[in-house]
Amino acid sequence: MASPHSHPPDDRHLCSDHGGEYPTVWDLPHVPLGLKQEWLGLETRRHFLGQGVKALGWAGLATLLGRSAPKLLANTAPVRGPALSPHFAPKAKRAIYLFMAGSPSQFETWDYKPALADMFNHDLPESVRGGQTLTGMTASQARFPIAPSIYKFAQHGKSGRWVSELFPHTAKLSDDLCVLKSLHTDAINHEPAILQLTTGNMFPGRPSIGSWLSYGLGAANEELPTFVVMTSKMPHRTNVQALSNRLWSSGFLSPEHAAVTLRAGNDPVLFLNNPSGVESDLRRTMIDGVNDLNRQLFDRVGDPEINARISQYEMAFRMQTSVPELADFSNEPPSTWELYGPRAKEPGTFAYNCLMARRLAERGVLCTQIFLRSWDQHTNLPKNIRLMAEDSDQPTYALVTDLKRRGLLDDTLVIWGGEFGRTVYSQGTLSAATYGRDHHPRCFSMWMAGGGVKPGIAYGETDDFSYNIVKDPVHIRDLHATILNQFGLDHTKLTFKHQGLDQKLTGVVPAKVIHDILA
């Protein structure tokens, strides 16, 4: 029998709505006792119960009270109760998604096509392209000359995985990675494609993967955000595509599920630090005064929102310690710097962000997404992809290795990849030394590691031109279903009522979990 529940007003139809479920303080398993008592000791007990956690703002309370206050999987109406558990036992407790924005070519990375070497500068057979509509960029080309990878591949590890010479470090992870070669998507241009990968839909307004996870599982750390995004400095500034806040927005879910952007520099969280000249003791005094007055106000007005605000100021004060501690790398041992390389000391680099991701993982942050741009190599691919690989290879290797050494990889799902693939034919002039590749939605490669995914395997196959998938296609929505699955979430049940529909990350077209890649 559940304790008396409260049902806050249903705010379903906001553009960015509150979650559909509101656990009460009773439902949160790891609420610090003192705090519970503080709440319950208030003469507002009944108000509080009446208003439920909504009064606090959900993420706020989750971070405040719940070490793991999993929000429940709402179906239609608010769903809740003491049995706060995912749909089934999760394999992954956190995700780190290394988003290679702009889309690295599969030919120079993970989809080894030796047969192409003999077809240099041959025309792509019409039958392979099959009347496909191309982008406006190669549309004007008179011919479509085949461009084999200029980079060599070698086999690595017990799995004998073929890895491009561009990734000497990642190659060492061969037996840890599950490489998917048969991803495909619906969009042929960046903006819709990247939005589809991050939110499941090509149009703005939908929640991102991290927001869905936050909504579904709640916070595991009381003093850090649930969903963190970092953008990375780029080693060079060619082939750069746009990002936007909509890639990590909460869409129609409550804004509390949107990512918090961790920024390079002194204020990793926006306006985290006190103004110059305000030491912590002054801030403490200031907040004490504010909260004191707020309590007086509460006595007069009785609005539970006032209590919520009091708590949020306390929370903010604590974050002023916890976040700088997070960003303080001084206690990292020398081995860290050997592993990640010297650039990891420079805030905002991809290496720095990877190290930060590990620190976030250690602290239980649910979803960390790192964006690295400039993979959009329409021209000068050989030169530019090498620069990008050099920047990203070692930190990527370091992150996975570090997680493994710390025993975190087993329940951390690491994902690496872009928003689509690239064409086998050269965009622009093909020469022995250089070429470019246009967008290609029909197939591309990604990899995953940890989080209950089978290590050392490859999944899916493409034809000799890596143009079409010949075996085991994986649509974006299948990828999303699989990711949710690893967190113990059934993608058909993780829903939120919006515009009268049970909205899902995977949308309306049926999606499938790729069970073959799961350990």
Binding site: G50, V79, L243, D303, G500
Partner: protein
């Protein structure tokens, strides 16, 4: 997993269940009532419906059916199972092919529906297990009872036009709002709250009407005004303030997703802020709301008499746009239309229309056809899909500088008169054409003699093209490689577009020698230049040719190409180049230079285009400035067989084009014959033209006279139509457009010609007058008939049936006599029979003041939306608003002067428990203010707020790098550079809104990115918000300036605290508060006394200089005290 509602639907049903279980009627449980094993939450009192003797379909049954059944048994045929529809009586009671009716009224036991929902067999039970829906016993009981009572269906409440309900007789209340609210409270046996104290009330109403706090002087004046009507006088003062319009506009801009950037990819700046200023002005002028709607939706069709009416159409342009290289313009066009329809649906109708882009709505009767019917109203505007990454993608209105405004307005008025005359004349097109024909006139055809090829290209589908020339050698041609794309665009008829790489071989046609005359051409729409994008092709190529490459008889043949915005006609001999001294070489040089200069500058891919060979034989080219892209042009070439360049003529739209000769060297021996096949859109071996549209392509083996060519674009086609069907009334839309609009009005009617000339002159004068003016994006209607195609699954490639503009079939029809364009759409919205717009609008106005609407789901009045808490009040307000002449200020005045609004927000715990979200309105509204109100309040209390109205967007403080993190390097909104001076302190409604990175501090307080229409913001409460109000330089500086005011105003701590309270809270402090604040102020003072450096650092924050007359540590101390005030819940809350 446990649920705590019964069957996952609204609380309506909960209450109904309670009724059934004897919990009383019209009485909401005040404790945690329990039914079975499930606790009933107290907040379930959401929307208790009136329970009569009989269940109501709308209130009790539809919610259950919608939630559990409609996904498979609703309006959408594509997902319908077992041929069963449960949303309408005629379907539910109908016998089906497989089985009888699902519902037999009056006989629950015989109704298969009941059997299925009560079944325990997983194969039988409904909803099926895989639907993850379970009907609870209470819901089943309700359905049973409803069927037993006769299973009476009802139309959804929101789709029936509101009628003004009778007001309950309540002697104590004069305001109709109060009478309806009190009647409801009385029924619930709840006592309303007393009026809030004067400071609270003043603060509330000041914020609600102006978005700003009252000044201490205003507070004192109000307190001192003991005469009756003091409050009403305050309301009138506030309504008269210019701040009122700014505040109201801020909400509206959310509803219509106004922003200062394109939104996608480059996310560049775009010029549309004059639209924002229009909205502010409209509210301040108290423009009637119906006019406000008309102007925004259709200002260009009114016709606009004032600049404002045209600037208003910026609404149509608020959608996101893109210029991403590689996108397909038609896809972009379709997406933008979809965005418009969705935003229109949410904002004006309170309907969620988006799903119907792909399939019929599953819950509302809104069909896919309805979606595309609305789309046809909204997509017939002239702007191009690609925005070119520029600030001013046409059409724009240039606003005159102040000194020219009077002249421009005058001219505008005159122009409107001309436009109106044109519209009236056009409206009579059918009558006039019929009269002209009746007088014996006929359009004159062009003789079909020697017409070898005529591809009308009107097949509409497939890849087989019919040759309709009377003496056709070859009857059909087949398009190869990539499929043809049909119907995206209409001109003479729905048009064909070649896809990338489409090849249309015309076989052995067009085989002529240089001494044979021929004439050839087509209606053509050159591919839009995906402007400015790097790595994009230029779209040069061959339109029509019989010519091969050099290997094919030395490249002999004839060719009509487009290159560098010229049309070039070549007759090339197969032998070695003829050497007419000078001409060839010079022309070659000229050609190279010309192409280089004319090629789209941002297109390195120019290298990919096959370079033009130096001209040999004959070549002429149109001079620059005549050829255009992305619009229909009739391009026609005649050659007289003279072997001289002078024998070639190029016509554009039937008129001789200006040309220059590039080569004129063809000897009598030269042959241009070739074995290469004739092609549309390319030469046999190369020079393909991509994504070009063609209609009515012809090849004559004779020399057409200029008079004949002049008739080709329209008259010849009109002649064909009239010959077949002389009665205008019987023409199709396309035929009528062609004969009446293009031919009769365009070429015959003298009056229209005169008016058009006058209009052109007025436009030119206006352009001259406003050349230096600020541009703003506006809407302009295309001349071609409006249409949209039903897209299967929403795919822009999968075109289905073509539909003309139409309003949703289940709502009121277009009022008689209104045109089927945006003007008609606006008239439809404001018609008395329209059930939604007035309700949706008054509901949002209510929401702005009370924090939530009478219908909570402000953007969804459909079947899955929330039911109104006070249906009668909502209808009364809707009718009142309309019948008041859509008087917006009067409406707000009525709301804020109601006793309902004036109640205190303080609540007892019993009241909170009973009605936590105040749905019954037994107390006043109290909620955290929106982001903009907070920032503006901080600035106002600091005395920093700059009160200038309007103008370009401004950039207040934001941390460095905030845009770079996401922007493309090429974007002109890549780097955020805060303004200096006034720009830092303007009201937030003027803050630059970049969609990819909305103002961060505002976003922290739930402001949206303005990518999709938002009719209701979230209201969260997070620690990140505390960081903004404590640490954002904007707030720190405001605290310091506020501190300066306090320190200078009063000598003692107590007085200063009192000053701060009066400025920020509009009230004096109570002793208990003063004690706390004195203690903390002293603590700040003591600590800072030894930290002068810190104190200096703190007061140095912000652009404004610190008051040097105040000691540094004292100012720092009071900055912290002021900051405390700015962080109080009371300050952040209205």
């Amino acid at each position: 997993m446990r649920r705590f509602t019964f069957f996952g639907i609204s609380a309506l049903s909960l209450l109904a269940i309670l009724v059934q279980l004897g919990c009383g009627t019209n009485q909401v449980p005040t404790s945690h009532a329990k039914v079975g094993a499930t606790a009933i939450p107290p907040a379930s009192l959401r929307v208790p419906p009136a329970i009569g003797a009989k269940l109501s379909f709308n209130e009790h049954i539809q919610p259950i059916l919608a939630e559990n059944c409609y996904a498979c048994h609703g309006t959408d045929p594509s997902s319908r199972k077992a041929e069963l529809r449960l949303d309408r009586a005629e379907h539910a009671f109908k016998k089906r092919d497989k089985g009888g009716p699902a519902i037999i009224p009056g006989q629950p036991d015989k109704s298969p529906l009941v059997g299925r929902i009560e079944s325990k067999d997983p194969k039988e039970v409904m909803p099926p297990p895989e639907a993850h829906k379970t009907l609870k016993p209470a819901a089943i009981a309700l359905l049973r009872r409803w069927i037993a009572e006769g299973a009476e269906y009802q139309e959804h409440w929101a789709f029936i036009a509101p009628l003004r309900p009778a007001l309950p007789e309540i002697s104590s209340a004069a305001n109709p709002v109060d009478r309806l609210v009190l009647a409801r409270l009385a029924a619930e046996k709840i006592t309303p709250s007393p009026e809030a104290d004067r400071p609270t009330l003043l603060r509330r109403v000041s914020y609600d009407l102006t978005g700003l706090p009252p000044t201490p002087a205003e507070a004192e004046a109000f307190l001192a005004d003991a005469a009756p009507g003091a409050y009403e006088r305050v309301v009138d003062r506030l309504l008269a303030s210019s701040r009122y319009g700014e505040h109201r506009a801020r909400y509206w801009l959310d509803y219509v997703r106004y922003a200062d950037t394109h939104g996608i990819h480059f996310d560049n700046y775009r010029a549309i802020w004059p639209y924002r200023d229009y909205v502010i002005r409209a509210f301040n002028q108290n423009k009637a709301f119906d006019r406000f709607v008309r102007e925004q939706l259709a200002g260009d069709l009114l016709p606009a008499r004032t600049l404002d009416e045209l600037a208003a159409t910026g609404l149509i342009r608020c959608n996101l746009t893109t210029n991403e290289g590689g996108t397909i313009s038609e896809e972009v066009f379709v997406n933008q239309t979809r965005d418009r329809v969705e935003a229109f649906g949410v904002t004006f109708l309170g309907l969620t229309t988006g799903c119907a882009a792909c399939h019929d709505h599953k819950f509302d009767p809104f069909s896919q056809r309805d979606f595309y019917g609305l789309a046809a109203f909204l997509n017939n505007t002239v702007e191009k899909p690609w925005d070119l990454n520029i600030a001013e993608p046409a059409p724009v209105l240039r606003l005159p500088t102040p000194e020219n405004t009077t002249a421009a307005e005058l001219l505008f008025g005159e122009r409107a008169v001309t436009q109106e005359k044109i519209q009236l004349r056009r409206a009579r097109a059918q009558e006039l054409t019929a009269a002209w024909l009746a007088a014996g006139n006929r359009p004159k055809p062009v003789a079909t003699a020697n017409l070898e090829l005529r591809l009308k290209l009107d097949e509409g589908k497939g890849d087989v093209l019919k040759n309709s020339a009377p003496a056709a050698k070859i009857a059909t041609f087949k398009a190869e490689t990539n499929p043809l794309v049909w119907g995206e665009n209409t001109w003479l008829w729905p048009a064909m577009r070649m896809d990338i790489l489409t090849r249309i071989t015309l076989g052995d046609s067009g085989d002529v020698e240089a001494d044979e005359a021929f004439s050839a051409g087509s209606w053509i729409m050159l591919r839009a230049n995906p402007g400015g994008g790097v790595r994009t092709g230029t779209g040069n190529g061959t339109l029509l040719a019989r010519m091969g490459d050099a290997k094919r008889r030395g490249g002999a043949g004839w060719d009509i190409s487009q290159s560098g915005m010229r049309i070039i006609v070549s007759l090339t001999p197969g032998a070695a180049p003829a050497t007419s001294p000078g001409a060839g070489e010079e022309a070659a040089k000229a050609n190279t230079v010309a192409v280089a200069a004319e090629t789209d500058p941002a297109s390195p891919a120019a290298a990919l285009v096959v370079p033009e060979p130096p001209p040999r034989g004959l070549q002429i080219a149109t001079k620059l400035g005549q050829v255009t892209r992305d619009e229909w042009r009739h391009v026609f070439v005649t050659y007289d067989g003279s072997r001289h360049a002078s024998g070639i003529k190029i016509y554009l739209d039937g008129k001789l084009a200006e040309t220059e000769v590039r080569a004129d060297a063809l000897t009598p021996q030269d042959s241009i014959r070739t074995d290469a096949a004739m092609h549309l859109g390319r030469r046999d071996d190369f020079n393909p033209m991509r994504e070009t549209r063609f209609q009515d392509m012809r090849f004559y083996r004779r020399h057409l006279t200029p008079a004949e060519v002049a008739r080709l674009p329209f008259e010849d086609l009109a002649a064909e139509i009239v010959a077949r069907e002389p009665s205008p009334a019987k023409w199709s839309t396309d035929e009528g457009f062609l004969v009446m609009d293009r031919f009769f009005l365009g070429e015959i009617d003298p009056e229209i010609r005169g008016l058009s000339a006058a209009l052109a002159e007025q436009n030119a004068s206006f352009e001259k007058l406003t050349k230096e003016g600020t541009a703003t994006l506006i809407a302009a209607e295309k001349e071609t008939p409006a249409f949209s195609d039903i897209l299967k699954r929403g795919d822009y490639f999968a075109r289905g049936e073509r539909v003309e503009p139409a309003v949703p079939h289940f709502l009121n029809g277009l009022p008689a006599g209104t045109p089927r364009n945006r003007r008609g759409l606006a008239e439809w919205l404001v018609a008395p029979a329209q059930p939604l717009m007035a309700r949706v609008t008054v509901n949002r106005m209510w929401q702005e003041l009370f924090g939530r609407g009478l219908v909570e789901s402000a953007g969804d009045f459909g079947i899955m939306g929330d039911r109104p808490s006070h249906p009668q009040l909502l209808d009364w307000l809707a009718v009142e608003f309309r019948e008041s002449g859509w008087d917006v200020k009067k409406f707000y005045r009525m709301l804020v002067t109601s006793a309902t609004y004036r109640q205190t927000a303080a609540a007892s715990s019993a009241a909170l428990t009973r009605d936590p979200s105040n749905r019954l309105l037994a107390r006043g509204p109290r909620f955290r203010m929106d982001a903009e109100m907070l920032r503006d309040s901080a600035l106002a209390t600091a005395g920093l707020l700059v009160k200038k109205i309007g103008g370009p967007p401004v950039k207040p403080y934001q941390p460095p790098g905030i845009w770079e993190e996401v922007a493309m390097p090429e974007s002109n909104t890549k780097t955020y550079v805060p303004d200096k001076g006034d720009g830092l302190y303007r009201r937030s409604v003027y803050t630059f809104w970049k969609r990819a990175s909305a103002p961060a501090s505002l976003e922290t307080f739930d402001a949206t990115s303005r990518e999709v229409a938002c009719t209701r913001r979230a209201r969260t409460n997070t620690p990140l918000q505390a960081f903004v109000t404590m640490n954002d330089p904007q707030w720190v500086e405001a605290a310091r300036k506020l501190a300066e005011r306090a320190v200078k105003a009063s000598p003692t701590t107590e007085q200063r605290l009192d000053f701060l309270a009066r400025v920020t809270l509009a009230r004096p402090l109570v002793a208990k508060e003063t004690a706390v604040l004195t203690r903390t102020a002293n603590e700040f003072g003591t600590k800072l006394a030894t930290r002068e450096k810190d104190a200096k650092a703190l007061i140095a924050i912000g652009e404004s200089p610190a008051d040097a007359t105040i000691p540094v540590t004292e100012l720092a101390q009071w900055t912290l005290v002021a900051s405390q005030f700015l962080n109080l819940d009371e300050f952040l809350t209205k």
